[in-house]
Symmetry: D3
């Protein structure tokens, strides 16, 4: 299945470059460099295959606002 | 209740500065500037009060890896 | 901000039609008819405005696999 | 442990039939056919065992409203 | 709609007593005492109405394992 | 990377003792005894290593209010 192209309600769509893709048994970890900060995403192996995710590729880290916490020192 | 100080398993702890705090009836939106990218967090009003969150304050956007998706153009 | 058009890792992208949009103080509820089943999404008011969500519009309910539970009778 | 029988606050309880169960090292993927749409759930292997989830079994995909995003073409 | 009675894959089903229900514009906060610890749930107002949630009522806090983080001092 | 010490907006910070740590290919399960109730967390293997999580160690189960559901019998 090729994923449709869409605009999405998730408030956070941070543009960067994929710097690491690690597949596990069913779950993969994808790391994206967002202007110097590294964001780690835990996604299905199937998603990695369907989107053809590879190191060096431009990509967005997409995060729903209700999944973001705030912390202070 | 004062929140305890702790180190947390969440893989994503992005340091920035709070640029907006908007309280609703029960849910508040906090926006954090992370090196030029704005991250929006939807948290309880109670959390805003307990942590004393204010515009201009240094803060982290904390996100569990399993809550991050990856998108490509 | 206009949201970029993208393909996303979320495994569940269910196509349907928006049947209800209810805005609260900061959080809106959007209901989508997916072939007879109604799916309720809780999103920010800002997302409703940015995407121009309206009753009658075709839309996808997008859900990360790690956010889906399984239940049996 | 046998899970208790309960009614739950999650707004989305979509009834269907399990069409695939794939176990990984710790995480399993369960696919449910909801009136023609396939919903993928990522759950623990332990949940698959405790609920006795099998292909062909009727089941619900249960999703909290705050975990549903909305997308448009 | 009366919610169906079901057994669910969520690994965490903590039994307690409801000690507070606060409704907002669209989102309600429900606090449950679990053997002395208070757990706060943010759910839709509609869920509060459909389940008839009230202070003093026995209830479970239900949490998917992938939504639990671990922290240390 | 050593995780910074912080106070966090997540409403639920339940103190207990780690009773089990099981690593998978990429995802680990950590079980924490909270005054007699066991809470299961699904986190990355990397988080287990970085925080040095071990059986017998005091730890918090941290859960965002928007990830808690309420169920009744």
């Amino acid at each position: 299945m090729r994923e449709p192209t869409m605009r999405i309600s998730a408030r956070n769509q941070l543009k960067g470059t994929i710097v690491e893709v690690t597949k596990g048994a069913t779950t993969a970890h994808v790391r994206i460099d967002i202007g110097g900060s590294i964001v780690t995403a835990s996604v299905t192996n199937a998603a990695v295959d369907d989107l053809g995710l590879e190191v060096g590729q431009p990509a967005y880290a997409v995060i729903k606002a209700s999944d973001v916490m705030v912390a202070v020192d």
